[in-house]
Symmetry: C2
Subunit: 94 residues, 2 copies
């Protein structure tokens, strides 16, 4: 499993996660459209595709193939590793 930290380091990839959080099981073309429309991005389909590969390698996106469509689904469980590694302590004023 690839680097979850690197995966969420890029703002475009975070926008993809946002989009999938809002509407799950989108295809590559659907994601392209919504990212450009709703998130104001200006990238090509290939760029999104490469980002999705990285997100999938990190386990944050799960794909399901149906004919010529490939649906992308969000999986946030890899993010657990972050919170478990450095437990979030609510800062008390000294």
């Amino acid at each position: 499993m690839a680097d979850v930290f690197k995966a969420i380091a890029d703002p475009t990839r975070r926008a993809i996660l946002d989009e999938l959080a809002a509407r799950d099981n989108q295809t590559l073309f659907e994601l392209c459209g919504r990212l450009i429309m709703k998130h104001g991005l200006s990238v090509t389909r290939q760029a999104i595709s490469q980002h999705l590969d990285i997100l999938e390698a990190a386990g944050l996106v799960v794909t399901r193939r149906e004919g010529r469509y490939k649906f992308h689904q969000l999986d946030t469980t890899p993010l657990l590793a972050i919170v478990e590694r450095w437990p979030i302590t609510h800062q008390e004023p000294t």
Copy 2:
């Protein structure tokens, strides 16, 4: 406040956070020593210093100056933004 995601994207910076989680309020030189000894890293003091700058800009490290010493303290609260942005749902088997 700078990019928390970029800050934790680098393995050396994550090692620094690990070290501070294990022992808080270390100086730059202390951190250098322990990172080389315990974490097997081989970087110069300046590299660590630059990483600390980034971590501090991200709010993950808080510094406190005392004479010629500068103590570094871990603050995990910025990590909350990650978990809140994409709530962690435990994946049910389909």
